[in-house]
Structures are given as C-alpha cells and as structure tokens.
C-alpha cells in the first residue's frame, strides 16, 4: 500500500532523513519508534508532502506521490493525525469534522458523522463546543475522527497518546484496536512499547534519520538490546 524507498529529507540546509525506507501493507498496523529528534515526524511529513523528500521515492497504491502537494496526497487516501493535533480552535467540534470531510478515494467511505458519534460518544456530547474548549484527550479523539472523516485508506498517527492521561490513553488504544479489526491500515508513532506491541504487526526503529531495526512485535519484545540502545527502555 505505502512504500517509502530510500528518501532523503531536509529542513533548509540540514538533512534529517538519510536513505529512509519503510512499507505498510494492506490492513497492517505498523509503528515508527525512536527517540526524539530522530526523524519520525519528518518521515510522516515527507509522506504527506509537507516536507517533500529531495531524493528517493514514495509510492502509495503504486502511484508515485513524492512531489505531490499535500492536498492531492490526502485525496489519494492518506489521513493525517498530526503531532500537536492542530484542531481549529475557532470551529466547533462538529465543524472540525465536517469542514474537510469527504467520501474518500473510492467515493463510498464508511465514515460519516453517525459512525464517528458511535465510535466517540464523548465527541457527540461536545459537538457544539469550540475546538479550544475541549480537553487534550478529546482533541486527540477529534483529530483521529477528523482524519477518519476523509475516509482514508491509510491513517498516519503522529504521537497517538503523548501527553494524555492513562485512562484516555486506554481509550485511544481501544479505538485503534477497533480500527485494526475493521482492516484499517495504520502507521503510528508513539513511545508506549507495551501498547504498540499488542496492537501492531510490525515495527521500525529509527535512529538519526534511518531505520536501524525492523521486525514483528514478538521479535521486539525479546530483543532487550534494541530496546535499551535505541528506545532507552
């Protein structure tokens, strides 16, 4: 579904990604782990076209998207849940969902307001509140729901549970588990190895802008050295 092939990305003069590669297959949940500043968010931004890769190629559903603009990449079926959530503060919860909604690349996506309300009853209760009046956990749910409303084939989650209370985290992981069961492909960044290994199929660990380890959940749980060296656990 998604193939990132040996990309180099830069912020101005400084190179952040070096020969970075990863892949997500249909229906897979894949994680991207690593310490801060190693290039996880840049990888997501490059896929999304927000920080276009200078070399290498990114293909989605066998289409070259490396130099597409973000809105075209989004319309091909990639939904972004950005770091920091970036909820529009001057739109209500419902407006945040509706403003950018679309039926997805197939034109027959399953996500509409009713489906979102069923998955996130808390958002329904707060649908008239403004985006800056809801809690951080609700904002994160809203960011996920907003991406789902574009009916993406691949969901990109940058920092799924960062800065959230434990109970809210549980809720977010539960929701991702449901999405996986429905066959939603997901690429997720987070630091919670325990939760990630329970949900995800495969993992990439990134260090200084390239992948240094990849493998399944079982391999990751066994490999104490990798966890100590690259994740600081």
């Amino acid at each position: 579904m998604l193939e990132v092939n040996a990309i180099d990305s830069f912020y101005g003069q400084s190179q952040v990604l070096f020969n970075m590669s990863l892949a997500v297959k249909d229906g897979e949940v894949v994680t991207l782990m690593g310490r801060n500043g190693m290039g996880k968010t840049t990888t997501i931004r490059s896929i999304m076209g927000l920080t276009p890769a200078r070399h290498g190629s990114i293909r989605f559903r066998n289409k070259e998207i490396t130099s597409h603009s973000p809105y075209r990449i989004a319309r091909l079926g990639i939904g972004l849940v950005p770091e920091g959530r970036l909820i529009s503060p001057n739109l209500s919860v419902e407006e945040n969902l509706v403003a950018t909604a679309n039926a997805g690349p197939s034109g027959a996506g399953r996500w509409d307001l009713d489906a979102i309300w069923a998955m996130f009853p808390r958002l329904r209760e707060r649908k008239s509140s403004m985006g800056n009046q809801i809690s951080g956990g609700e904002q994160q749910m809203l960011a996920i729901a907003r991406a789902l409303m574009t009916n993406p084939e691949l969901l990109l989650l940058d920092e799924a549970t960062e800065g959230l209370a434990p109970l809210i985290r549980q809720e977010i992981w539960g929701c991702l588990r449901n999405l996986k069961e429905e066959g939603q492909s997901i690429l997720v960044i987070d630091k919670n190895i325990q939760a990630l290994t329970e949900i995800a199929d495969r993992h990439y660990i990134i260090e200084k802008g390239s992948v240094v380890w990849e493998g399944t959940s079982r391999m990751l749980l066994k490999d104490q050295m990798v966890k100590r060296q690259y994740l600081g656990v």
Binding site: M48, P89, N90, L91, N96, V98, R146
Partner: protein, 309 residues
C-alpha cells in the same frame, strides 16, 4: 439640536459604514487567512466603479451594469491573485506592501490609458434618483437608502456563508491553520483564489455603489483604503464580525461627528475656538478611536479565536 438632521446624519453614517464594511470584509479575510497585506484592495473598488460606469453606458441600465460588474471584478480579482499575489504569500509584509503599492500605480495608470484622465459619471435610473420620505417631513435620497439596504443584505449573506457553509468553515479553519487543512485534502491555493475573488467582488460592489454619490475617478480607492485599514485594525484583523461593527462605528462617528461636533464644542468652548477646532478634531476622531482601541485591546475589538495564541 436638529433631530431631522441627526436622523439624516445617522443614515449617512450607516451608509458610509456599510460601504466600508464591504471593503473591509474582503481585506480582513485576505489579511487574516493568507497573512497578506493587500494595499491594492482600493484599486478593485475603483475598478468596480469604472466597470459599472462602462457597463451602464453600454446597456443603458444601471441595474444591469451593476449586475455585470460583480462577476467582472471577481474575475479581475482572480487574475490579480493568480498572476501577482500568489507569489507574495510566503514573503514578508514589507515586500507585500511594496508589490501591492506597485499594483495601485499600475491600476491608476491603466485606468488613465483606458478611460482617460477625466472622471466618469454613473447615471442613476429614475426610481433611485429621487427622495423618499422616511418619516413625514424628512426626505432622504432613495439611492442612499438602497445602499443601506443592500449593505445589510450582503452583510447578512456573508454572515450565513461564513458561519453556516462548508466554505465558511474552511475560511475560518484556514485562518487558524493553513497547512493542516491542506493535509486533510483541501486545495488551499484554490481556496485562497476564491476568497480573494470574493473579496474583490465585495470591493467592486462598494465601488459601484459609491460611484453615483462620490465621483468615479482615478485614485478614488486610496482615500477609502485608509479608512478601511482603520476599520479592520479596530475590528480585529481576520474577523468579519469585528469588521462589521467597526465599519458601522467608524461610519457613524465620522459622519455624525463632522456635523455635530461644532455644536457640542460650542457648549464647552468659546465659539471662536470651537469653530476653528471642530473641523480639525472631527477629522481626527476615528484615528483617536483607533489609538484608544489599540491601547486597550491591541488585537482589536474582536480578535479571531486562535490568533495570537
């Protein structure tokens, strides 16, 4: 105090205020969403007046001329955005000021070449070119009344568009977070072009309505641009609601102040002093108001939520 004069001046104040609002709405959206200073907004106002004069001359009907002017100024706005302004969004405000000041010179010269240095007249149809008695004994020009009605109508329409439609949601979301709505599948360039065209059409609308009252001449956009900038600064840059309230406020204070300040000053000052001070003070009043508002609320009366946070 002369109550009929007061009523007339209040109506004149609303009329000026609503004209200012039409200009300010476009300017504040462009400034708020695209972070773009567009000094050439007054030129679009001027083009509205010239287009309307020309179309009215061709068709012989002011109403048809006015109707044709709107899409024409919309298209002109789209062309200006695509050709010139699009490249300026990423530049700093000083570059934008210089480039759009260049556009003012361009439009003034182009107008001189096409229509000549002498101003034009927009003839009004009979039914607008008369007075109406709003209350018995108080005749008021029908066209000015029409400006007020149309102004309120457009303000209402704009309110519905911004607060109820998907386009309005995107305009508001774009003001707080441009990149994000792009990453959610919205073509921001197209959205900006549309918003700019809409703003241009509103400015053109203001120009064609001001044309018959003031005069259609080169440079007519510059003086009103200053007032419009005052309006959006007082209202809070990016806020349509703020622009509306500030525009009405400025219109009323400017108009009513000019006609009644001499009388008011006469009560507290010697009449000789009052007579000389009044004109000076009344032309300063809106700037004093702006200074006062900025001192108390530096972001304007209604800063859009999410800005400056």
């Amino acid at each position: 105090m002369n109550w009929l004069l007061l009523l007339e001046q209040i109506l004149n104040g609303f009329q000026l205020g609503l004209l200012l609002f039409l200009l300010a709405a476009g300017l504040t959206l462009v400034f708020g969403i695209m972070d773009m200073v567009n000094l050439a907004h007054g030129s679009l106002y001027m083009m509205g007046a010239y287009f309307c004069a020309t179309f009215t001359g061709w068709t012989g009907s002011f109403l048809i001329g006015a109707l044709l002017t709107l899409p024409a100024v919309f298209l002109l706005g789209v062309v200006v955005e695509v050709v010139a302004l699009r490249t300026l969004y990423a530049r700093d405000h000083l570059d934008q000021v210089m480039a759009t000041f260049g556009l003012i010179l361009f439009f003034n010269e182009a107008t001189r070449l096409i229509w000549g240095p002498i101003g034009l007249v927009i003839p009004l149809p009979e039914f607008l070119n008369q007075t109406v008695e709003i209350i018995p004994g108080a005749p008021y020009p029908a066209f000015r009344l029409a400006i007020i009605l149309v102004g309120f109508l457009i303000a209402g329409l704009l309110y519905v568009i911004v607060s109820r439609t998907k386009l309005g949601m995107l305009i508001r979301a774009g003001a707080s977070n441009r990149d994000m709505i792009g990453a959610l599948g919205i073509n921001i360039r197209l959205l900006f072009t549309l918003v700019f065209g809409l703003g241009a059409a509103l400015a053109g609308r203001a120009g064609l309505m001001a044309g018959p009252i003031l005069s259609v001449e080169i440079g007519m956009g510059e003086s009103i641009l200053i007032l419009t900038l005052v309006v959006i600064v007082i209202g809070g840059i990016g806020s349509i609601k703020g622009a509306f309230i500030a525009a009405i406020l400025i219109g009323l204070i400017d108009t009513v102040g000019r006609s009644f300040l001499p009388e008011i000053l006469d009560l507290v000052l010697p009449s000789q002093t009052a007579a000389t001070a009044a004109p000076a003070i009344s032309s300063m009043m809106i700037y004093l108001l702006m200074a006062l508002v900025l001192a108390i609320k530096p972001q304007g009366l209604f800063p859009p939520k999410g800005v400056g946070r």
